[in-house]
């Protein structure tokens, strides 16, 4: 579904990504791990064309979309749940969901079925929601574009434990529904339950890749790169 090869990017004159390789197959859940400031969000921004790639390739569903316009990348099947949620504050919940919606199996009713709380607050403005509600809305918003791969950047950050669990349950449901997911998070225990494969990056480079079992068997990876 998504293949990233040798991706490099920089902010101004300072290079941030030095060659990222990762791939997500259909229906797979892959994590992107690493400490803060190691280039995870930059990777996401570069994949989506929001930041110019200096080198490397981004291939989505067999098409090379390196440095294509963000909307073309999104339409190729990627759905973004951005860091910091970035809910549209001047739109209400319904409008947030509908603004960028594209036809497909995910409809307003189905998303509201997944997140009943959003249904209760359908008329509220984006900036009137709690953090957890905003997170659900950000996920719902991405689902409404009917992507084949969801990209979640720090989807549980700053949320209460109960809400977090709700989000994890939701992602599990999405996985069961056959969605591919690329997820960035610090909550490795929850990710272990969910993910098929892990990619660890450090200072803009991929330093380790492997499945659940491998990560389990390599505590030094956790200690060294994730220190949790």
């Amino acid at each position: 579904m998504l293949q990233v090869e040798g991706l490099e990017a920089s902010y101004g004159d300072s290079k941030v990504l030095h060659g990222i390789d990762l791939s997500v197959g259909d229906g797979q859940v892959v994590t992107l791990l690493g400490r803060n400031g190691m280039g995870k969000t930059t990777t996401v921004r570069t994949i989506f064309g929001l930041l110019k790639a200096r080198a490397g390739r981004v291939v989505i569903a067999g098409t090379d979309l390196t440095n294509a316009a963000p909307h073309r990348i999104a339409r190729a099947g990627l759905g973004l749940v951005p860091e910091g949620r970035q809910i549209f504050p001047t739109l209400d919940v319904r409008e947030n969901l509908l603004a960028a919606a594209r036809p497909g199996q995910w409809t307003l009713d189905r998303v509201l079925g997944l997140f009943p709380r959003l249904g209760e607050r359908a008329g509220h403005m984006g900036n009137q929601l709690s953090g957890g509600e905003q997170q659900m809305l950000a996920i719902g918003r991405a689902l409404m574009t009917n992507p084949r791969l969801m990209v979640l950047d720090e989807a549980t950050e700053g949320l209460a434990p109960l809400i977090r669990d709700e989000i994890w349950d939701c992602l599990a449901a999405l996985k069961r529904a056959g969605e591919a997911i690329l997820v960035i998070d610090k909550n490795i225990d929850a990710l272990m339950r969910l993910a098929d494969r892990h990619v660890v990056i450090e200072k803009g480079r991929v330093v380790w890749t492997g499945d659940n079992a491998a990560l389990q068997a390599a505590p030094e990876v956790r200690d060294r790169y994730l220190h949790v």
């Binding site: 064309g49 909307h71 339409r75 759905g79 973004l80 549209f88 001047t90 739109l91 947030n96």
Partner: protein, 305 residues
């Protein structure tokens, strides 16, 4: 006195509505694309000139209007494609420089094409004349029509912005431009559309005033500054703000001009009041703007600066 006050209030509203039509496009372009467009005023002017020519060619105001609107729309699209598109990611300064240049180009081109003498368009028969309002006071029908057209346009804009998918995307794009495009919306196409639409609104305003104002090469400049005042008072990017700001400027300007000297005479010597009134009247809208910004640095309905 009360009658006169009501009439002047109506005049203020009418001026405000006109300013709103011009300011609406400006505030959209300004607020959503973060683009300083000094050339908005000359598009208003081109709208008026086109109407004069088309109305003469076809022999009627309405056919002229029907031809003017799509022409301005196309002009807006062409300008966006040739110039503005390449300036979105530039600093405000570059935008000021380029659009300042564009003002010179269009103003000179208009003089080459239509000459320097003021022109006029005939008023549509159905809307000429005036109707009695209160007592001996009468009001021109065409001005009522301008108010109606402005209100309808405002209503239409309100509908588009609050009730349609495009409107949602516009509002979303005003705050999180990148996210909107990362969710699959072609923001470039959206911008072209807003720009052309804003240009068409300005051209529409120009076409509306062609029968009552002189159509001359300086007409764009004077309204441009006023339109900027309006959107800054209202808060950049807010249609609601543009509407409120336009009405405020229209009413303050009109009432200040007509009743300012009377008020001043109550507190000053007549000669001093006359002098003070003459000095203050033209400054009034700028004083209003400075006051609004001193209290609310991002305008009445602006997001925080």
């Amino acid at each position: 006195m009360t009658n006169l006050f009501l009439l002047q209030l109506l005049n203020g509203v009418q001026l405000g509505i006109l300013l709103f039509l011009i300011a609406a496009g400006l505030t959209l372009v300004f607020g959503i694309m973060d683009f300083v467009n000094l050339a908005h005023g000359v598009i208003y002017m081109v709208g008026a000139y086109l109407l004069v020519s088309f109305a003469r060619m076809t022999g009627g105001y309405w056919t002229g209007l029907a031809l003017t609107l799509p022409t301005v729309l196309i002009l807006g699209l062409a300008l966006e494609l040739l110039v503005f598109r390449h300036l979105y990611d530039r600093s405000h300064l570059d935008q000021v420089l380029a659009t300042f240049g564009l003002v010179m180009v269009v103003t000179e081109a208009v003089q080459i094409i239509w000459g320097a003498a003021p022109l006029t368009a005939a008023m549509p028969e159905a809307l000429s004349g005036s109707i009695p309002l209160i007592g001996p006071l009468r009001y021109p029908v065409f001005r009522l029509a301008i108010i109606a057209a402005g209100l309808l346009t405002g209503l239409g804009l309100w509908y588009i912005i609050t009730r349609t998918r495009i409107g949602m995307r516009l509002r979303a794009g005003a705050t999180h431009r990148g996210i909107v495009s990362a969710l699959g919306v072609d923001i470039g196409k959206l911008f072209s559309l807003i720009f052309a639409f804003g240009a068409m609104l300005a051209g529409f305003a120009g076409a509306l005033v062609a029968p009552i104002l002189s159509v001359d090469p300086g007409m764009g400049e004077s309204v441009l500054i006023l339109a900027f005042v309006v959107i800054v008072i209202g808060g950049i990017g807010s249609i609601k703000g543009a509407f409120a700001g336009a009405l405020l400027v229209g009413i303050v300007d009109t009432l200040g001009r007509s009743f300012g000297p009377i008020v001043l005479r109550a507190v000053l010597e007549p000669a001093a009041a006359g002098q003070a009134g003459r000095v203050l009247a033209p400054m009034l809208v700028y004083i209003l703007m400075a006051m609004v910004l001193a209290v609310r640095p991002a305008g009445l309905f602006g997001a925080k600066a």
